[in-house]
């Protein structure tokens, strides 16, 4: 009974924390981007603009819930939920503190890789069900990009698995007590960062959204709550990739003085700020450059990283 209650508390705690963090990320991103662009972000609504989230949510909830008459209604409604479910489900394996995870699987990493493949469905179905050429173009780009970059996302993590000896995320964090994996697996960290950016369709890989090009890409026809679902889903995805980078490469909840959960949150926030900095700085590559980069540069690098890691581990016993 105590175990069930504890698990329920963890599940609901994770969900609530995630959704509020995704909401706060709206404010954080706008203020951080404006910090780096020599301007002030929202600072009028509450103290330092913190109630901007409330204003945005009021606006989005009060919008008309319109499904285009030419769209495929069932799929249109399901698509944003598919992305959100796939991203939220991946949080089931993330260890926030020693012993605190929704589900402590010994193949947690494989589960995450599988669920991130499910997220492709959301992007594809959103564009297809909109029955709109631009949305379809955006979702085709999204599918191509996400599927291609998933290939070496998994490969870059295999170096970590080889060094830790296990697919379970809790074991990987434990294996970093000596040194964090960002030191021996630096190439893997960079490759996973790039692949993670492409998986959540975040700048510089946000061609599917393409705010300057395709109107709004695959979520052109969406408004109101469904659009909010895509929007928050992107921030939940950013949080997911940050949590995974922290768990796999930056030592998870390991740290000297503070309680482990505080270390985890601090490291995740640093990585999220890095994501926002990347959004504010880098230019968007053209789609063929993006695909060429993924297949011709990143994939060989990931394979080479895996081979070198495996060779070193075998050589050192």
């Amino acid at each position: 009974m105590n175990e069930t209650a504890r698990n329920l508390v963890i599940v609901f705690g994770v969900l609530i924390c995630l959704m509020s963090l995704a909401g706060m990320l709206i404010w954080v991103e706008r203020r951080m981007l404006s910090l780096w662009q020599d301007r002030l972000g929202p600072n009028r609504v509450g103290p330092m603009g913190l109630l901007q989230l409330v204003a945005d949510m009021i606006k989005i909830f009060s919008k008309e819930d319109w499904v285009p008459p030419f769209a495929d209604k069932a799929v249109f409604v399901i698509a944003p939920a598919a992305i959100m479910v796939a991203t939220l489900a991946s949080f089931a394996v993330v260890p926030f503190a020693p012993g605190v995870a929704v589900c402590n699987m010994n193949i947690g990493l494989l589960f995450f890789l599988g669920m991130s493949s499910m997220a492709v469905y959301g992007a594809a179905l959103a564009g297809w069900s909109s029955n709109n050429k631009y949305a379809l173009l955006g979702s085709m780009r999204a599918v191509g990009q996400m599927v291609s970059y998933e290939v070496f996302m998994g490969l870059s993590l295999m170096g970590v698995v080889v060094q830790a000896g296990s697919f379970g995320l809790a074991d990987i964090v434990e294996a970093q007590r000596a040194t964090w994996f960002c030191v021996p697996q630096f190439a893997g960290l960079v490759i996973f960062l790039v692949a993670g950016l492409a998986e959540v369709r975040r700048t510089p890989f946000d061609l599917p959204e393409a705010e300057n090009e395709l109107v709004a890409g695959y979520h052109t026809e969406y408004s109101g709550l469904k659009f909010a679902m895509f929007f928050l889903g992107e921030y939940v995805g950013v949080t997911l990739i940050s949590c995974l980078i922290v768990t796999l490469f930056l030592g998870g909840w390991l740290g000297p003085v503070l309680p482990p959960i505080v270390w985890f949150i601090l490291k995740t926030l640093v990585v999220i700020v890095l994501f926002i900095l990347v959004r504010g700085s880098l230019a968007r590559p053209r789609y063929d450059q993006l695909m060429g980069f993924g297949w011709k540069v990143m994939l060989p690098l990931a394979l080479a990283n895996l081979m070198v890691t495996a060779a070193v581990v075998i050589a050192c016993g």
Binding site: S34, L35, W36, Q37, D38, R39, L40, N43, L277, V278, G280, S281, L282
Partner: protein
């Protein structure tokens, strides 16, 4: 690859620079004196209105937002009976200020003119006429040219010599 890292570093350094935002309405952007804002009608240094209702500003206006009618006072001096500018049409181009021969109509750097109702955007002469001389202090058209309403005697206006005595033999 290195250029990407360099880009990230350069953008990060922007966090420590002063922001370029003016927090309106607490701080306002400083405007030069010749910034084209609200239109005013000015007076000359002796207190009379400068406008002689010559209709040049109404003709010069590209959108036709100026409406006025001339009349004469008891001394025969022309002045506008009414002077109306429709600020919902005005494009603040400054052609009227360039066309005015007496420096009467001027544009000042004031832009805070919002109204809730559209008829409130039509300004009459009592809203446009100011007490001062605007941007051209010390200029009185009738001291230089125009009909003489005892504003100058013979030879007392600017750039004019005193009249020579035609009956005397002295130079």
């Amino acid at each position: 690859m290195w250029s990407l890292i360099r880009t990230l570093w350069e953008v990060f350094r922007h966090a420590f620079r002063r922001r370029a935002t003016y927090q309106y309405p607490e701080e306002k952007r400083p405007l030069p004196a010749r910034a084209r804002g609200r239109i005013i009608l000015s007076r000359d240094p002796d207190g009379g209105e400068r406008c002689v209702a010559c209709y040049l500003c109404a003709v010069a206006c590209p959108v036709g937002c100026i409406s006025l009618e001339a009349t004469e006072d008891e001394h025969g001096r022309r002045y506008p009976e009414h002077f109306r500018i429709n600020f919902s049409r005005c494009i603040f181009c400054g052609f009227c200020e360039d066309a005015c021969p007496t420096c009467a109509i001027q544009l000042v750097p004031d832009y805070e003119m919002s109204e809730y109702k559209r008829p409130g955007m039509v300004y009459e002469k009592e809203h446009l006429l100011i007490r001062g001389e605007g941007k051209y202090p010390g200029y009185n058209f009738y001291r230089i040219a125009g009909v003489d309403f005892e504003t100058r005697g013979k030879g007392t206006s600017e750039n004019e010599r005193a009249p020579s005595d035609v009956h005397s033999l002295m130079p």
